[in-house]
Subunit: 322 residues, 3 copies
């Protein structure tokens, strides 16, 4: 189903220069667009792709107005990437097919003592346990588990395989064996939270694990018990937060980034991919800890030397004294 | 439902100083306790929280007896953390609601040729394949898979999404393509093993993958084929053990720690979070390999220099010769 | 059920020296073989195990002919490991029990508008959404999700918990909150692809995420949106590829190895375990970036010094000037 350019601008704003009656059949990246495609330029590094793109229309920032005009129709908006995000939502709504199955899929196992908002959708083979609450317009895709007494707010989206409220990893040592600490808390998830496939958020030991409004979690993430993740923080795939850590609002954690237990990250802290946070970070900024990749032979030499680094420092000191 | 302090001490021992008739309505951390809460102090660093806590009673070690007495009721026990663990178990039993569904949930898919102990519980949407065995008092939460011929011992707890017995990753190269090595072994899991959400334990190639008694695995852990994990070893979330590695008893692996294939860890080896084990470790102790996190600008400088570390060493040598 | 040695050689080739009527009851590693076992020697380092093995017959390369003859029956083949792989397949076929349930398990949720090849098998509690396509002889084990419009080719094997086609992690920032970029692409998986338990492959934002023929993915792997993985590339457990990365054919990624977004790996690039790829790699070879593990005390000293490495370099420079 195609959308008229005019209808798009009517819905999303922006200044259209070009034929409002052009029918857009596809949204496409610049390098792979056809004359019936709408494309966008948000990264100035890709400006060279603009001239050669076959897109019927492009979304650009005011700074790119002249370059866009040189090639054809365009929409000007202060933030093309944000405009594109809204456009994908418009596009999805326009192309949505009617749901064939009821709001709670018959294969889902929803406890009679769970409270599911009448506007929520529970997909196939989900489990919603006793005392759990699912908020308005929230969607659980397939095979999602929401355990006993856990809460999910409104307008959340939980992807397949998500596990909310498994036991936190609590053990007390006792003469060489482990005694389980029963996890008596639950998980509370705010509104507008998205949680990626197979991500796990453990229930708290005594108090609740808390995911605040607007948090976005990618796939295969581990969130330990008693963690708090602040509003609008985003974490990429395979990242992890160990028990009782507190992550402030508006933070980001790169893929496979990890925060150890009981630490605090202040608002606006950004952890690079594959970096391990071993101490609290109270000053906003970007933080990194990664051994730089190299060809294996070079790495072997440097890694071997690294194991003597402290003594190398002593040798430098000794040289300096002479 | 509240528990009398006297009933708690009757069940768990310890020396109570205070009113045995006090009704405990909550277990709570010191900083967030109310007069009807029972709290505990196991970490001496938190001793300052003791004086200001509103808890109705606190569990302390003999060394803290005086400080505890200065503020109100207390229970003295040699290991407050272990006491607290047992207390959570008592609490959970006292508050357990009756299970609404039968021992094997009707939505579970249990092969007629699987052997499930009559006291085991198989949760919603689990799969127990042909020839699998599930031991006494073992609990499979929801959406757990136990594949063909795999065994789970007694008193185990498998959290949602656990996959026992998927094929190990066995491939033989053949002129640029891969030929699958069928995985003919299975998985054998001992007694008192806990396995966290979405953790995977692969079946062996020829022999079985073995998880010994009392092992505790957190969420999103990968255990490759033919691995053996020794008794009472504990592994934190996102850790991994590659094929044919042998991990001794009483080891720990921190979050995202990883052990390469065919290696051996002796009894009592402890691997720090995010560290990669690249050689066998036969001496007990704590082992670490992590690039320390820093603000990004400092990291960039040091990482760039690291790639020249071997030549820096040579320059130091040259200086020393002069 | 035993297989005659003669029948094995008839099926798989190789030169048998020994009694073709010997009944083989087990395939076993050299160190654990019995007189009714068939074993193999592919790693020359294990040659010392050959003499002492009790195996009834061993598969060896021509170079090992004499040593094998000294102990008993053997099969000579140019590539014993490949022969062993084919043998496991023969073994599995010979021992296959008849499937008790129909081709599409009654507990699976397959949309009427999905297209499932009549020879494909859909296991218990799988979800195949509208518009999805499952190719000939492909097997979905239990609890696999294939989302809307995603395609899986022929002869693929998807292990339990695999999620194909969850939304990619696409977000545009807007005044401190995140606006979702709807993921309008899908996932296209070629033929002969194997995907390990709980691995996730996200759908593309505008175009499709593509997994080419013969790719082998282990467990708990994350593949981001718009990624392309080239033919016969293999990735080990817990590895990850961030959005829009392009990995060439015949690459390997070790366990927990990670490729950042928008990068390119050329054909024949091999990434070591736990290494983070931060730039495109266009030259074939092995690449590594791992902090070497050490006992914790030594690590602490070296890690602390590492944070001053750049200034150490300056001190060396200063010494050289003198």
């Amino acid at each position: 189903m195609a959308l008229r350019l005019g209808a798009i601008v009517d819905a999303l704003g922006g200044e259209l220069q070009g034929n409002a009656d052009l029918e857009i059949a596809r949204l496409a990246p610049l390098h792979n667009a056809s004359p019936d495609s709408l494309s966008f330029l948000s990264n100035p590094k890709l400006a060279k792709e603009l001239a050669s793109s076959l897109a019927g229309c492009v979304i650009v920032s005011p700074a790119m107005r002249e370059q866009a005009a040189a090639r054809g129709a365009f929409i000007v908006t202060p933030d093309p990437y944000l405009y594109f995000a809204r456009l994908t939502q418009l596009w999805k709504r326009a192309h949505a097919r009617q749901e064939a199955h009821p709001r709670i899929h018959p294969s889902a196992v929803v406890d009679p003592e769970a409270i599911v908002d009448p506007t929520a959708r529970i997909g196939p083979l989900c489990v919603v346990e006793r005392g759990a609450r699912i908020g308005a317009d929230t969607v659980l895709k397939s095979s999602v588990t929401v355990s006993e007494d856990c809460q999910v707010g409104a307008r959340c989206l939980l992807h397949p395989g998500v596990v909310i409220g498994a036991d936190g990893f609590g053990l007390a040592p006792d003469k060489g064996t482990w005694v389980k600490i029963e996890q008596l808390g639950a998980v509370r998830i705010g509104d507008d939270v998205e949680i990626g496939a197979n991500t796990c958020i453990d229930r708290g030991a005594l108090e609740d694990t808390v995911i605040e409004d607007g948090v976005k979690l990618d796939n295969l993430i581990q969130v330990g018990h008693n963690v708090r993740i602040g509003k609008h923080t985003a974490m990429a795939g395979c990242s992890a937060v160990a028990g009782s850590a507190v992550i402030g609002p508006h933070c980001t954690v790169g893929g496979a980034g990890m925060v150890l237990g009981h630490l605090t990250l202040a608002e606006g802290v950004h952890i690079s991919a594959a970096s391990l946070v071993t101490r609290s970070i109270l000053k906003p900024g970007q933080y990194t800890g990664v051994f730089p990749i190299d060809d294996n032979a070079a790495w072997e030499k440097n890694a071997a030397t690294l194991r003597q680094l402290h003594s190398l420092r002593d040798r430098i000191k000794a040289l300096e004294k002479k």
